[in-house]
């Protein structure tokens, strides 16, 4: 791997991400907005603990979904449309270098989101726990799952369809993700569907480790792992570099 090429590509990917207003909206404004709004407005009664104890794991999961699935997927879809992926593939950077740079871009964005959300939560009165360390591992697994979904859509759909699908799926996962309000609030049929989706699986797992003396719920962990293995495999199999 050509590290100089990957470093240059990562720098460019980051500056392009920062330049896209809609990407900043979905990755930063929406998670922070949900955190502040639902912690101040008594819109739901958490099962136990404070509203923030419920919201922080949900918003951390939401942030991962916005970076790995929405921001990455939409950008990649348009780069595919404009022949950028094709052109970069015939340089010494190559496809593997390009994928490495995209991964680093997502991780850098997520580190920034994580710090921002944790700092904002503490400012709102949340008490961090040692479970944050385990949460980072879970969020990494979630990143793999959501990046797989994002790249699958980016590599198979036309750029506009991919844009709509990524944003639509973001909303569905937000509503069915146990992120802003508990899953139990959903109608039973919808709740059982929601529990098979990666969003709810991730937020419930992160919630598990952040609770004092908490543990990871087995069923949710299995669902998350299935998505983290299946989605990237499907993306790798179906991804087309040219539209």
């Amino acid at each position: 791997m050509n590290t100089r090429a990957v470093a240059a590509q990562t720098r460019l990917e980051l500056s392009m991400t920062v330049r896209r207003g809609e990407s900043l909206l979905v990755t930063l404004v929406v998670p922070i907005g949900i955190l502040i709004f639902f912690s101040k407005v008594d819109a739901m009664q958490p099962r136990r603990g404070s509203a923030l104890d419920f919201l922080v794991p949900g918003v951390l999961s939401l942030a991962v979904m916005s970076s790995a699935m929405v921001s990455l997927g939409i950008a990649t879809g348009f780069e595919r449309r404009y022949g950028v992926l094709k052109r970069l593939g015939s340089t010494p950077l190559g496809r593997s270098g390009l994928l490495t740079a995209k991964t680093l871009n997502v991780l850098a964005l997520e580190v920034f989101q994580f710090l921002l959300i944790v700092v904002a939560s503490i400012a709102l009165g949340w008490k961090p726990t040692i479970g944050l360390v385990a949460a980072i591992g879970l969020l990494f697994v979630g990143t793999i799952a959501f990046a797989g979904i994002g790249m699958f859509m980016a590599g198979t759909l036309r750029a506009e369809a991919n844009l709509a699908a990524a944003n639509g799926l973001f909303l569905v996962f937000l509503f069915l993700g146990g992120m802003a309000y508990p899953l139990e609030r959903l109608p039973t049929a919808l709740e059982s569907i929601a529990r098979l989706l990666p969003a709810a699986a991730l937020s419930e797992c992160v919630r598990g480790v952040l609770e004092p003396a908490g543990s990871i719920p087995t069923r949710e962990l299995v669902v998350l792992l299935v998505w983290a293995v299946g989605a990237p495999l499907l993306a790798a199999k179906k991804f087309r570099w040219e539209e």
């Binding site: 460019l12 022949g83 950028v84 094709k86 052109r87 593939g89 015939s90 340089t91 010494p92």
Partner: protein, 311 residues
């Protein structure tokens, strides 16, 4: 052509590529020497882009062999990618990036890149260095694509319809640039629809139709071999086309009137044909105002060759 394999930058032997059962390239062979500018001419859908994209490593051949600088381009060789410059027919640039950013990015991919600012100047984009790519005109974006293709000092350059959207001045700049590169030893394979581009720029051309080379050589050779030219004459009195055709031993519609009083018949302009023509005019007592023999153009040869195979 006499060359040892080491002199060849590109070698294609009996290349075949099918899409959904339809042959896009059907037994194409081609050798390009180092430092040569080779033009691939052909109608839309003839297989030009498919051939070039196989050489660029984007697609795999179904059959036949392909070598660029002695290597198989589908082998994913990082070395080969560092020696090749690519200009796609369109796209390949980040719409949200600036020209200088694009060039600096690509410069970082290569060991000994050209100076991005110098390149911008070379393609006449120094004043647009901070304009977003999406705001560039089609011709400007193409010039940027060309600069991006050059930044790594490639040994082999693939240009897919490089001047399609350019104005005449940009086209002239591009031609000069390509000639200079070839003089410094760079091998250039380009595709084009423009016959004047092929005649001005290319050391050799290949006319491709239905996925095969149907004529190949220097533009002059291809023109001479493929076209008999035309005889044109202007008379003071009207000419009976059928009578003249039969007097010349040609089919009845061989002589045609291009506009009133202006006539043409197919070459070659042999002494006998000219003598027969003037003898007939003498017998009819028709005075010639003008008589010219016109060599075929590459365009005529191109149209004839690519139409013949359609008939």
């Amino acid at each position: 052509m006499s060359n040892s394999p080491g002199d060849l930058a590109i070698e294609v032997v009996d290349l075949k590529k099918h899409y959904n059962g339809r042959a896009a390239v059907n037994g194409l062979s081609l050798s390009i020497r180092k430092g040569e500018v080779f033009g691939l001419l052909g109608p839309n859908g003839a297989g030009k882009t498919t051939t070039v994209e196989i050489l660029e490593g984007y697609r795999r051949a179904d059959a036949g062999s392909v070598a660029v600088l002695g290597q198989d381009p589908s082998g994913n060789s990082a070395w080969l990618r560092s020696q090749v410059g690519v200009m796609l027919q369109d796209g390949g640039l980040y719409p949200g990036a600036k020209p200088l950013e694009m060039l600096k990015l690509f410069a970082a991919f290569y060991d000994n890149p050209r100076d991005p600012l110098e390149l911008l100047d070379l393609v006449g984009l120094n004043e647009s260095s901070t304009t977003m790519v999406r705001r560039l005109s089609g011709g400007q974006a193409q010039r940027l694509s060309l600069a991006v293709a050059l930044v790594g000092r490639p040994q082999v350059l693939f240009l897919d319809e490089p001047t399609g959207g350019m104005d005449p001045r940009a086209r002239a700049i591009t031609w000069q640039l390509v000639r200079d590169l070839a003089d410094s030893g760079v091998t250039v394979l380009l595709t084009t629809h423009q016959m004047d581009e092929a005649e001005h720029l290319c050391d050799r051309v290949g006319i491709i139709d239905h996925g095969k080379i149907v004529a190949e050589g220097t533009p002059t050779d291809v023109t001479n071999a493929g076209g008999d030219g035309t005889i044109r004459f202007v008379t003071a009195a009207p000419v009976d086309l059928a009578a003249l055709s039969s007097a010349l031993g040609l089919p009845p519609d061989a002589v045609w009137e291009e506009r009133p009083g202006h006539y043409a018949l197919p070459g070659p302009a042999t002494p006998n044909l000219l003598a027969d023509l003037t003898a007939w005019l003498r017998d009819e007592e028709i005075t010639l105002a003008e008589l010219r023999t016109v060599r075929a153009t590459l365009e005529e040869v191109f149209l004839r060759l690519t139409e013949e195979s359609r008939a």
